[in-house]
Every structure is written in structure tokens, then in C-alpha cells.
């Protein structure tokens, strides 16, 4: 570990010495080029700031408790609220996690600890996973429609349907990040455990998985933070844009926060746009909190072997 960083420091120092003669770096073209690079990096930051500030200003009149506690209302758009959407999103996230996390971890453990990489079917899974990670989310919505029909559900716009769509969507993310976490556990731990007579599963369960938990948690949270803002697959399932009751279980009809934002954004009254802007801030806070949690876990529990 320390030798590696020594080498890195050394190469960095050598590079600095090689470029120490400033004149060559300060020709007009080189400076313009550097300026362009700065611009492209800070363009993204500027967009993020503009987005948050503009939305917050638009939504300012609606930062009140009605926003969180009221149901959607077409009669009084100035009092419309996102209660059903927020609760629906909470139900969706929990159900999605319950469906996707065990499946994702199981698949990752199989691929890392059991699979023989030379077999064609294991290579098929690898290629397939890379493909699935880039399938458009709207297609997962159509798949969920098919799955719900196969399961015999008449109404598809329920918590379970949305959770199936979202868990299919984030499964590749969870598998890929869990595999990385498992791969980061050094080989010596495996060899040591196996040499003491533990079976492959005992090694995995008692040594590998506990060491990989922070990585797995990070991947799961990042997957959920992607799922929380998705509206396209839910739209395909026919999840209603507005409901006026709380979801009561996984077979309950529901709506979700991004669906309500989409609905209100497409309305023409200014009050709905203000409500949408305020709800966007709520959604962004949720997403940022999840991302922040993931980064915190990654930094806090990261082990260097």
C-alpha cells in the first residue's frame, strides 16, 4: 500500500519537474484550452445550481405543511399536496429493496465465488448483465406489464407492479456493485478460511459477506436512489397520476412522487407548477440524502487490507 503511494508520489513529482518550465504551458492556445476544460467541468456545476435555485424560487410559495400532508386537489390547486405520492414512494422503495437486494446479492455471490468463468453459460450471464444495465427504464415498465399479466393481476397500477419494474431496473446496479465489493476482499481471507476446513458457503457467509457489507450497502442505496426518481416504468404500468388515499399494502393502488410531479408539470395552472417545483425540492432532498448516505458509508467503513 505505502510503496504504491510512494511510486505515485514519485511519478507525480517527476511530472512536475518535467513541466516546471512554465513558458511552454502559458502559450495562448494552451491557456485557452485549459479555460475550455474549466468551462466544461463547471458547466455541470452551474447547471446544478441553476436548476436548484430556479426550482426553489418557483416553488417558494408552496413550502408549507399542506405540501406534505394534503392529497392532490384539482379544486384548490393552491392547497394541493403530495401525501399519497410520498407514502407511495416509501412503499415502493421498501418493496423494491425486499425484492431486489437478496436476488442481487445471491447473483453476485454466485458469479464471484462459485461460477467457473470458462463455462459458456457463465460468460452469457456476464455479457447479459452488461446489456441489462443499459436497457431503457421504459422497457422495464413494459416487462413489468408482462410479468403482472403472467401473475394474473387485473389491475397493474399497484405497489407490487411498480416494485417489480423498479427492482428489475436496479438489479444490474446491485449485482455489479456487490461483485466489486466481494472482489475487493483479499484472496488470503478465502484461502485461510478454506484451509481451516470451512466450506465455500461457510467462507462466503462468515468471512466474505461481512467484509463486503459496506460496499453492498453503498450499491443498494445508489440503486434505490436511481429508482426513487423513476417515473417512466410506472407510467407504462398505468400507475395513476393522482390518488386520494394512502397505500395500505403491496396490493394497494398507489401513486408515486415523480408521477405526481410529472402530472402537475403538464398542467397549465401556475399553482400546479409551483406545487411541482416544491415537490421537486422534496424529491431532490430524498435523492441527495440517499447519495450522501452512500458516500458516508463508503468513506466510514471502507477497509484497506
Amino acid at each position: 500500500m505505502s510503496t504504491v503511494s510512494n511510486v505515485a508520489v514519485k511519478t507525480a513529482r517527476e511530472t512536475v519537474q518535467l513541466t516546471a518550465k512554465r513558458s511552454k504551458e502559458q502559450t495562448p492556445t494552451a491557456l485557452i484550452f485549459l479555460g475550455l476544460l474549466w468551462f466544461s467541468l463547471f458547466f455541470g456545476v452551474a447547471v446544478l445550481v441553476a436548476l436548484i435555485v430556479d426550482t426553489a424560487i418557483t416553488g417558494w410559495p408552496r413550502f408549507d405543511m399542506n405540501l406534505l400532508t394534503n392529497y392532490d386537489s384539482t379544486l384548490f390547486p393552491e392547497k394541493t399536496g403530495f401525501r399519497a405520492g410520498i407514502l407511495g414512494t416509501a412503499w415502493l422503495m421498501v418493496t423494491t429493496a425486499v425484492l431486489a437486494v437478496p436476488l442481487g446479492i445471491g447473483a453476485a455471490v454466485y458469479l464471484e465465488e462459485y461460477a467457473d468463468r470458462d463455462r459458456w453459460y457463465n460468460r452469457l450471464i456476464e455479457v447479459n448483465l452488461q446489456n441489462l444495465a443499459a436497457v431503457p427504464s421504459i422497457v422495464y415498465g413494459l416487462l413489468a406489464v408482462g410479468v403482472m399479466a403472467a401473475l394474473g393481476f387485473e389491475r397493474k397500477g399497484i405497489v407490487l407492479g411498480g416494485a417489480i419494474a423498479l427492482s428489475l431496473l436496479i438489479l444490474p446496479v446491485i449485482i455489479i456493485t456487490t461483485r466489486e465489493a466481494i472482489r475487493a476482499v483479499p484472496e488470503e481471507i478465502r484461502s485461510g478460511s478454506l484451509a481451516l476446513g470451512a466450506t465455500v458457503w461457510q467462507t462466503t457467509w462468515r468471512q466474505i459477506l461481512p467484509s463486503a457489507v459496506p460496499g453492498i450497502a453503498t450499491g443498494t442505496i445508489l440503486g434505490l436512489s436511481r429508482a426513487i426518481g423513476e417515473a417512466a416504468p410506472l407510467l407504462m404500468l398505468g400507475i395513476p397520476l393522482a390518488v386520494r388515499f394512502d397505500p395500505t399494502g403491496i396490493f394497494s393502488e398507489m401513486t408515486a412522487l415523480p408521477m405526481q410531479i410529472f402530472f402537475m408539470t403538464s398542467q397549465s395552472q401556475i399553482e400546479f407548477q409551483q406545487a411541482a417545483a416544491a415537490a421537486i425540492i422534496v424529491l431532490l432532498v430524498m435523492v441527495l440524502a440517499l447519495n450522501g448516505l452512500a458516500i458516508y458509508i463508503r468513506n466510514k467503513f471502507q477497509r484497506s487490507w
Partner: protein, 314 residues
């Protein structure tokens, strides 16, 4: 040779397993039914991913066969008519091209800065901010396109005459959305270029700009191409931005200021309507979905091949 008089290892009374009497002591011979069950269930979890792919194809093909029994193939791949898909493909192409015009220069610039210029500390600070941009939900970007980019940026600041919905604003915001994808994968490709190439270039008297553009960029080209292709695939499949900001009418036009419906925009609009299961419009949803899936599949396969190539280079 090695006869069964030797002890058969620390087997805990489960009885001799088949074949242990003849060969040398087998360390793996002991059969553990629970281990096998666990392995099987883990394998099932892994094969679910393959089942998902087949599930997508099956779930799409069934309504699509109905659709083509109701509507002739020629009416689907046509430029005009109720069931024509080519105007939608053109709309997708237009927004995607605009998105790439925005995302490729910005993404590459950000990646070059992060990998070639930024200090280690700056990189640690700047990269998460860029990743946050990737975490913004697409419906939020749609709102941003509709209520900031179109009225404020395009109409007021740049003085372009555009309507409430237009392909330009949707494409620009789509581009902003895929900047992190392009930047992060290109940065990986740049970082994978060996330090010795840079040192060689600097030793020959090139400055950092020349080194970046003429040595590092060509060496990382296939990785950069993979990044661009993956960004392209995300732009093609993105729904909420184009559903909100690109327009809801089929329009075969070359003017980016016009409203244009894309494939995903059409799907979002149709799914909102009250189309009974089995109706022509409902089935067309799946036909467009299948076409979208096939297009992104081809793009992804190209991207995977490119990544493989740049991994083999060094």
C-alpha cells in the same frame, strides 16, 4: 496403489462417499447436500438476469405479433399515417444528436481536466459533484427544460424563436443529463493510459495540452468511443425529459426549433391514454418498445466491444 487401509481424512461419520476407496484421498469428495442447495439457489439468482432478457423479448413479442396482424408492416415503417413509426425515430434521432453535440465536448473536457490537470484532492472533490448531476431524476430535468431552458435560456437570453415544447430544449437538457456518463467513462479510459506515454511526450518537449490531445486522447480513443456510445444509448432511451419538453405531436422536420415527438415520448403519451388491452394503440406501444429495445441493444453491443478493445490495449 493407495489402498483403502489409509484413513479417509477427517470425515465426520457421514459414511464413505462413492469412489473414495480406490483413488488417492479426495479432499472434495464429501457430499454436502446443504451446500449444493445453496449453490443451486445462488445460481438461480444469477440466471434470473438471463431470464429477464428473455422475459423482455417474450413480453414484447406477444403484443407485437398481434399488432402486425392488425396493421401491415408497411404502415408501421412509414413516414405518414396513424401508425407510422419513422417520424418518431426521426424525433429520437434529432434530440439524440443535439444531446451528443452538448455532451461529447463537455464530457470529454471534464474528463480531460479531471485525469490530466486536476490534483488528487481536487479530483476527489469534483468527481462527486459530477456524479450528483447523474443522480438528478429525469422528471426533474424535464421540468427544468420546460420552465428554465426554453423560456429563460433559449427565448430570453439566446433570442431563439421556439414554442413551449421543442426538440432543441429537450436535446440540450438530455445532453446535460448524459455528461456525467460520458465524463466518467472517458476519465477511466484516460487514466488507463500508461504514465510512460505522457512522460515520453513531455520529454520530447510537448506541453500538457499537446500531450493530452495528441498522445493521451488517441491512446484512449476506443474507451472514449465506448463512453460516447453508452451516452448515446441513454439518450435514446430517456423518457421523461422528451415526454415533457420535446412535444406530443409526430413531426418529420429537420428544424430543431419545432416540437417533435420521440419514440419514448410516444410511449409515455399512449400509456397515459385509456387504451384497452389488445387494442391497436395498446399493441403499438409494445411495437415501438421492441424497436427501442433492439436499437439500444445494438448500441450496447457496440459499446461492450469497444470497451473490450480498450481493456486489451494495455
Amino acid at each position: 496403489m493407495n489402498n483403502s487401509t489409509t484413513a479417509t481424512g477427517p470425515s465426520s461419520g457421514a459414511g464413505p462417499s462413492a469412489g473414495s476407496g480406490t483413488g488417492p484421498i479426495s479432499l472434495a469428495a464429501k457430499s454436502r447436500p446443504l451446500e449444493a442447495v445453496i449453490k443451486a439457489s445462488l445460481a438461480i439468482a444469477a440466471f434470473t438476469s438471463v431470464a429477464i432478457t428473455f422475459g423482455i423479448i417474450v413480453a414484447l413479442l406477444e403484443p407485437v405479433t398481434h399488432f402486425f396482424s392488425q396493421v401491415p408492416v408497411g404502415d408501421f415503417f412509414a413516414t405518414k399515417g396513424q401508425y407510422a413509426v419513422l417520424p418518431l425515430v426521426a424525433g429520437t434521432l434529432m434530440t439524440t444528436v443535439i444531446a451528443l453535440l452538448v455532451a461529447v465536448p463537455l464530457g470529454l473536457g471534464a474528463a480531460m481536466y479531471l485525469s490530466e490537470y486536476a490534483s488528487r484532492r481536487n479530483r476527489k472533490l469534483l468527481k462527486p459533484i459530477l456524479e450528483l448531476l447523474a443522480g438528478v431524476p429525469s422528471v426533474v430535468y424535464g421540468f427544468f427544460a420546460l420552465f428554465f431552458v426554453t423560456p429563460t435560456l433559449l427565448q430570453d437570453i439566446l433570442n431563439i424563436e421556439v414554442g413551449f415544447t421543442n426538440a432543441l430544449s429537450a436535446g440540450v437538457v438530455l445532453g446535460i443529463m448524459i455528461v456525467p456518463t460520458v465524463a466518467s467513462l472517458s476519465e477511466d479510459a484516460f487514466t488507463a493510459v500508461p504514465q510512460s506515454l505522457r512522460q515520453g511526450s513531455l520529454a520530447m518537449g510537448a506541453n500538457r495540452m499537446q500531450t493530452t490531445l495528441r498522445v493521451v486522447l488517441p491512446a484512449a480513443l476506443s474507451g472514449v468511443a465506448a463512453a460516447v456510445v453508452l451516452g448515446l444509448s441513454r439518450a435514446v432511451g430517456e423518457t421523461m425529459i422528451v415526454a415533457l419538453a420535446a412535444g406530443a405531436r409526430k413531426n418529420l422536420s429537420l428544424d430543431p426549433r419545432d416540437p417533435m415527438q420521440t419514440m419514448t415520448g410516444f410511449m409515455a403519451q399512449t400509456a397515459q391514454g385509456e387504451n384497452p388491452v389488445g387494442s391497436v394503440d395498446y399493441n403499438m406501444l409494445f411495437a415501438v418498445g421492441l424497436l427501442l429495445f433492439l436499437i439500444t441493444l445494438v448500441i450496447n453491443i457496440i459499446s461492450i466491444q469497444l470497451v473490450r478493445r480498450f481493456r486489451q490495449a494495455y
